[in-house]
């Protein structure tokens, strides 16, 4: 038996963009146990329902996270719409789906860059973010914001994409696709990347199931969980299969996310081909009275929005469960038995979004 010591990791660490603290129990160079603690960036967004009415809360819900902002707004808005029995126009459903997939693309490209940075591949990091920039440009051109979209409202969407814009985006998506395919080759077939990721932090399907892993983290371990198959938004009309892998290591997680970028491009193309004409929103009267659980697929996994209203403009309760929160037990499991040098990579492979988690 070697020397056992406890090494604090975070909340300030070069690999972490956001604060999370882990107490790593280490025997020589191996991690035996990891104890996470969160709570460094709690902002109390959920309690703002007492001060903002349900329409203003759309903007608050969106600001839960800086990366998956559109998904948070969409999840909240759809929950309120379900409570109020609002049937939104088809065009709004398709536009939401397109924006959601653009948001997923930019989130995954950001993550790929961070991963490349974590294993010391700086030029690949910059290249990934360079591709992401084109997606951000599309988002800014269509919504007016690069990160915070602010196009959702209860009853539909506020901005439209005309035919010329859709054609332009379709062309641009082709360029992005070529670049992603080139980068994919580099991530999946490069010897240096493989040496760093293969067999690191393996999580079996049974473990992932028992620990309730969500999103690409769970899918890389073979769990075909994807909330998009529930068919919210326009996903019910589109054809796709959840991307899974059976290996469950860091490499599989990387592979799942790259393939999801290509899947998103395909979904956007399908949605662009089928988008119907029509109104952008329906007028909304009254206040939400009732409760609803909305489950949507964020770039990082399944997010749950619980909304409860009692016929007043101010809601009674808003509760958000984010994917990173669900993936933390899985992360601690993968850390057991890992080399100390692999800890930063393992933390990155769940795509941690701590601000989301703490709301």
């Amino acid at each position: 038996m070697g020397n056992i010591s406890v090494v604090p990791f975070g909340p300030q660490h070069p690999v972490l963009p956001e604060p999370i603290h882990l107490d790593l129990v280490i025997e020589d160079e191996k991690v035996i146990e990891a104890v996470p603690s969160i709570g460094f960036v709690h902002r109390g967004l959920e309690s703002l329902i007492a001060k903002k009415d349900y329409n203003e809360m759309v903007y608050v819900a969106e600001r839960t996270c800086g990366i998956c902002s559109f998904g948070h707004g969409m999840g909240y808005v759809e929950a309120v719409e379900k409570i109020m029995n609002i049937e939104i126009p088809d065009r709004a459903r398709y536009l939401r789906t397109i924006w959601m997939e653009l948001s997923r693309m930019h989130s995954h490209l950001l993550w790929l860059g961070l991963l490349a940075d974590a294993f010391g591949y700086e030029s690949l990091f910059y290249h990934c973010w360079r591709i992401r920039e084109q997606v951000l440009d599309m988002i800014e051109e269509s919504t007016g914001g690069r990160v915070i979209f602010s196009v959702n409202k209860v009853g539909g969407v506020m901005k439209d994409m005309d035919a010329a814009m859709l054609a332009r985006f379709s062309e641009k998506l082709g360029e992005v696709e070529d670049q992603v395919i080139a980068v994919r080759k580099n991530f999946l077939y490069d010897k240096t990347v493989q040496l760093r990721l293969r067999g690191v932090g393996v999580l079996t399907k049974q473990q992932a199931h028992d620990l309730g892993c969500a999103g690409p983290f769970g899918r890389a371990s073979g769990i075909a969980t994807d909330m998009r198959t529930r068919g919210y938004g326009a996903y019910g009309d589109l054809e796709f299969e959840p991307i899974t892998s059976n290996e469950g290591d860091s490499f599989a997680r990387c592979q799942c996310r790259i393939d999801e970028i290509l899947q998103s491009i395909d979904l956007i193309r399908q949605a662009m081909g089928m988008i119907p004409d029509g109104d952008l929103f329906v007028p909304v009267k009254g206040n939400p009275n009732g409760e609803y659980f909305m489950r949507i697929e964020q770039p990082r996994g399944e997010a749950v929005y619980y909304v409860k209203g009692s016929g007043k403009p101010y809601l009674n309760r808003l509760r958000i469960r984010t994917p990173t929160f669900a993936n933390l037990p899985g992360l601690c499991e993968t850390l057991k038995g890992a080399d100390y040098a692999d800890v930063p990579i393992l933390i990155l492979t769940i795509d941690p979004c701590i601000s989301c988690t703490e709301r």
Partner: protein, 186 residues
């Protein structure tokens, strides 16, 4: 299957191609048309209804109807555009381009021009006169209708009814034959 030097082609291409970044301060940034940069107001169109004040999520707008001012704390504004979507006169607008940075949080106040204020005061006076005239006409009509039935019963309370309350004045109208009640109605 793994190979070496996958990235070399991309790297060489990047070496000889133009940079994707811009030489920003020298080369001005181009913003898309829809960009939610900052909020501007066409203050002379504003009717000081206060819908923007009530809709603003961070509560950064204040409106003073009497002074004819519209004040925004731009450092609290989140550029969501909700106020612009609520504005009935469409005088609020989000335009591309960021606001200037500053050293301290300061509110900016916009004043309506003197001509607009003058016109508004005139209009308000006209409206008040019109309302008073309408009120008087209604009262006279009611008094004429009630004259036959309640003519002989002067009520002391009728004279005490405040003139500013149209309902109370209308209630008092059946007893309006007394000189005191007529005086108060005027």
């Amino acid at each position: 299957m793994s190979t070496f030097l996958n990235f070399t082609g991309t790297l060489l291409k990047n070496l000889v191609s133009k940079p994707v970044t811009k030489n920003y301060p020298e080369e001005p940034a181009v913003y898309p048309e829809r960009m939610r940069g900052r909020i501007v107001i066409d203050i002379d169109q504003c009717i000081s209804c206060g819908l923007c004040v009530r809709s603003c999520p961070p509560r950064c707008i204040t409106v003073d109807k009497n002074e004819g001012t519209w004040t925004i704390n731009r450092f609290d504004c989140i550029a969501c555009g909700y106020c612009a979507s609520k504005c009935p006169k469409k005088c609020l607008k989000l335009i591309p381009g960021y606001q200037k940075p500053g050293r301290s949080k300061a509110a900016v106040t916009y004043h309506k021009s003197e001509e607009v204020m003058e016109a508004e005061r005139k209009k308000a006076a006209e409206m008040a006169a019109k309302k008073a005239a309408a009120l008087k006409a209604a009262k006279e009509k009611a008094a004429a209708a009630g004259a036959g039935t309640a003519a002989a019963k002067p009520m002391p309370a009728a004279g005490a009814a405040p003139a500013a309350k149209p309902v109370a004045a209308a209630d008092a109208a059946p007893a309006a034959k007394t000189p005191a009640a007529e005086k108060s109605a005027e």
